[in-house]
Amino acid sequence: METTEQLRDRLLARFPGAVQLVANPGPAAQHSLLLEPAHARAIAEFLRDDPALLLDYCSNATGVDWPDKEITETVKVTVPDPAGGPAKVVDQKTTRLQPGCLEVVYHLYSMARRHGPVVIRLRTGNRTDRVTLPSLTPAWRSCEFQEREIFDLFGVIFDGHPDLRRILMWDEFKDHPMRKDYVEPDDYEWEPTPHGTVMDKAKAHHPAPVPVVPPAAPAKEGTQP
């Protein structure tokens, strides 16, 4: 099977500007292709029907939450000396907010050609209002339940999914629990050996009694409680 770079080039020839390679730095070297959501469905069907690839089996669809990240960059800047001396080089720190997104990763294999995996990724615009992605269920039926699960636990809305509703949590549930900023309902009870975050909950629920401070010096007139 062709490498990920070759596949990217072939896809770019057909769908210009819609594919980017995301390198995988670890030893597994499973590089993936980031697709533009607008062309994702067409690319998916191409990957499924192309005679060299015949990726007819979508093994796994995963949701990933990338929250907003604050990135601090340090740049060396030359600042002229107001007193007229030589210019000084100082460090200037700029902080910028890299907006987060929700990501869906698909692992594709081919049962006909017995090769794989080809990993494709789709990213949403942000984590709040632009969370719609095209559903790949029309291309691979195996995405049906897995995309429902990603909708349930992450909140990604799949456009074109035949039956998008919650699958694991109850229908009245409001949150998306697998997001990194999900806060569990406070359901604390007694723990025998709390530590870490559970210790904070323990202290909040069972605050330590306020220690009684004894009077500094007994006054001659009488004692005070």
Binding site: G26, P27, A28, C58, S59, V105, W140, R141, C143, M178
Partner: protein
């Protein structure tokens, strides 16, 4: 043709569209089978819409055992997630452990010594025997042979559980594989005991088959019931014996060639019709192949360490990156997708559970059949709710 056209739900796939309310048809009855039901293999619910006895719509509802395994995986270290993988497919803990260890070893680039690979194969095939035996017992229990085949199945299962207990300390939740090998070495008398169990298993299968396989009632109830086409199975991501019963020759042991499977000689049985009887027979044939694999692996297991000496157990922090590792579990492809950001906990820990994906076509298989057939079809898909809901 898109996969939607292949489904029996569509006119192109063979469904007949019937009017719902007219003077010749009564109202439809909606029955909720489960989550507490004797035959639903756990807390699984099927909202079945019936026209008389025939199913016209079926919607599976699950999540009743959703124990947020993936969220726990993000909050625990890689090694501490290993006992949780036991509880995914709680009948087959050894294969779950292996799949997870394989994924982490891929992520970290960790090699595994040869003796450990052989030991993993031995334990995986024992697990396959255990799982398929239980499936045969449960399927027959669901079809009405209440109790007796299950007793035979569990009798054999106890022999394998004794082996697991003497090796790993626990009957079911073995927590045995580690990143870079196995936790403990198998002593020579354990291997001899495993050899005895493997050799005696053939006789049990002969006894079981003599009682069951040619049985008229079983054949009448399962042949032609729940037919799955190869095209729909491939598109719906079905794996495992259910896929091979339709005739698609895809066994990850042969395709990926992980572990020492390329050195072992075994065949992959395939079915012709894709119905419930084929799914049952495939599993019986796979048990016979597993016995062959076991005998070869037990004879060829080399001496040596079972754990890579350079493997890091404490302070295990794989480099940033991601990996997807999968094996052929008894129920299908079980895979783990891990994203590491260099910290001791995974950034994203995802379980690709075979039972979850195999349920996609439950409605397609059950349409047009009766409620009793739905129970048998569900039994032949072989689901475990720990995996479906995670």
């Amino acid at each position: 043709m898109s996969p939607a056209d292949l489904s029996p739900l569509s006119p192109a796939g063979g469904a007949t569209v019937r009017p719902v309310h007219d003077e010749f048809h009564g109202d439809l009855l909606e029955v909720s089978m489960g989550p507490h039901h004797p035959s639903t293999h756990g807390v699984f619910r099927m909202m079945v819409t019936l026209d008389g006895e025939t199913i016209v719509k079926l919607k599976p509802v699950f999540g009743y055992l959703h124990r947020n395994h993936e969220k726990l995986g993000e909050n625990t270290t890689y090694l501490a997630s290993m006992p949780y993988t036991d509880r995914l497919d709680y009948l087959c803990s050894m294969t779950n452990n292996w799949a997870y260890a394989l994924a982490v070893e891929k992520l970290a680039g960790q090699p595994v010594p040869e003796r450990a690979e052989y030991l993993r194969v031995i334990l995986a095939e024992l697990t396959r025997l255990l799982n398929h035996t239980c499936l045969a017992g449960f399927l027959l229990q669901d079809s009405g042979a209440s109790g007796t085949p299950l007793m035979y199945a569990f009798r054999e299962r106890e022999k394998i559980l004794d082996l697991f207990e003497s090796l790993s300390g626990s009957r079911m939740m073995c927590n045995f594989q580690r990143f870079g090998g196995s936790r403990l070495d198998a002593p020579a008398d354990w291997l001899a005991g495993a050899s005895q169990v493997a050799d005696a298993y053939g006789a049990f299968l002969d006894e079981f088959e003599a009682l069951i396989t040619g049985n008229e009632i079983l054949m009448a109830r399962t042949q032609g019931v729940g037919v799955l086409t190869p095209a729909l199975a491939t598109s719906a991501g079905i794996t495992g014996p259910m896929l091979r019963a339709t005739g698609v020759a895809y066994d990850i042991r042969k395709v990926d060639g992980y572990g020492v499977y390329p050195r072992l000689d075994f065949r992959v049985p395939l079915g012709d019709h894709g119905d419930t009887y084929d799914r049952y027979m495939i599993r019986v044939l796979e048990m016979r192949e597993s016995i062959k694999i076991l005998q070869q692996a037990l004879a060829a297991i080399p001496a040596g360490p079972v754990m890579d000496p350079k493997a890091k157990i404490r302070g295990f922090r794989p480099k940033a990156g991601e990996a997807y590792g999968r094996i052929e579990g008894p129920k299908g492809e079980i895979g783990f997708y891990l994203i590491s950001d260099g910290s001791p906990n995974p950034y994203r820990y995802r379980v690709r559970a075979p039972s979850f994906v195999n349920l996609t076509i439950l409605e397609d298989l059950c349409l047009g059949h009766s409620v009793a057939d739905a129970v048998i079809i569900l039994g032949s898909i072989d689901i475990v709710l720990g995996e479906v809901d995670r």
